[in-house]
Subunit: 206 residues, 2 copies
């Protein structure tokens, strides 16, 4: 038999309450949902915000193609059904992360309004912040960081969002950013202010 050294451990019947973790972390769980065309600046803003939050002592985490498409969702493709399931799973993971007290930032094209609305409903409006990267298509296409627009225009990629597949802009996003006019740093500052206003993090200096 193990000798009990830590006598303050008690038998609990259920999960630790979210608020206990949030108190410990001095922040509240949230999901910032970046959406927009390929090349519109989603990932760059997400990383800039993640670094800014961690520098301020907050626990933040980016979910994007790097860690989702090659992991949890590696068995999904780019058909409309698979895109929907892709976003559904990301919404569910975002809900778990928010419940764990983390400020999570997702960076996916997520072209369908209904799919994003499912994510919003899954997590709950109070925790969901839709940030629309409303950068003009011609700017995104000129950036073409992964060379995907070129391939799509050449017909080498089918069903590419903005070229031969639709992007449905949000009706009521919490924030709109055109990265042809604003820097990722400016976007991150705006997003921090939004989180402060929503009581998810405390303003600097308070």
């Amino acid at each position: 038999m193990t000798k009990i050294k830590a006598t303050n451990i008690t038998w609990h019947e259920g999960h630790v309450d979210r608020s206990e973790r949030e108190t410990m972390l001095k922040q509240k769980g949230a999901l910032i949902w970046m959406t927009g065309l390929s090349g519109s600046g989603k990932s760059t803003i997400a990383y800039t915000l993640e670094h800014a939050l961690v520098q301020r002592g907050h626990l933040a985490y980016v979910l994007d193609g790097d860690n989702i498409r090659f992991g949890l969702n590696k068995n999904l493709g780019f058909s409309p059904e698979d895109r929907t399931e892709n976003i559904r799973r990301i919404g569910e993971v975002g809900k778990l992360f928010a419940d764990a007290g983390i400020i999570t930032i997702t960076a996916f094209i997520s072209p369908y309004r209904d799919d994003r609305d499912v994510a919003r409903e899954t997590i709950g409006s109070e925790d969901f912040f839709e940030c629309f990267c409303d950068t003009p298509l011609d700017v995104c296409e000129e950036r073409d960081p992964k060379g995907l627009y070129k391939k799509a225009r050449a017909g080498e990629i089918k069903g590419f969002t903005g070229i031969d597949a639709p992007y449905e802009a949000p009706n009521k996003p919490e924030l709109v950013i055109d990265t042809s006019k604003r820097s990722p740093q400016e976007a991150a500052v705006e997003l921090c202010a939004m989180l402060e206003k929503a009581g998810k993090i405390t303003a600097l200096g308070e």
Copy 2:
């Protein structure tokens, strides 16, 4: 244009490194994988450990049927293929949580050795701690907290692990606990000691 107030925000090209979050949290990400028959004590130990870790100031989170089967994996059933996909997704989420710096505890029957080994490989051996709840079937069946053994014996549930579906015991689990002989508190103390030894958390008083 937004006036930049926080001049210390810089433009980053990629994810925050896991080690930055771990330094902030004063712990290292890990996945404790509870496995065993229904009624073997997995969830009770998981909750007890979660509460113990949070009381010690650590960020811990339990993934179990409550938050997975009704969320991320609500489109999966109990066929062998669906069980495999269930465990695969949980392993991938566990990997994301560990990368976020969290000590995660999963509480699923996870009856197939191969599936658990996939989770171990996904996360990496250094972060994976398999805890086998080796409680005898007759004890689990007598407990029958959800009345499932009774239904399985009556033929109302098909493919129930331990009755008419196999449970494959781990070959080399990091910990074995028979909850007919040890309390959840004792198990939690052992698991904390295991995490300390692995350098995931600091020993109390250090």
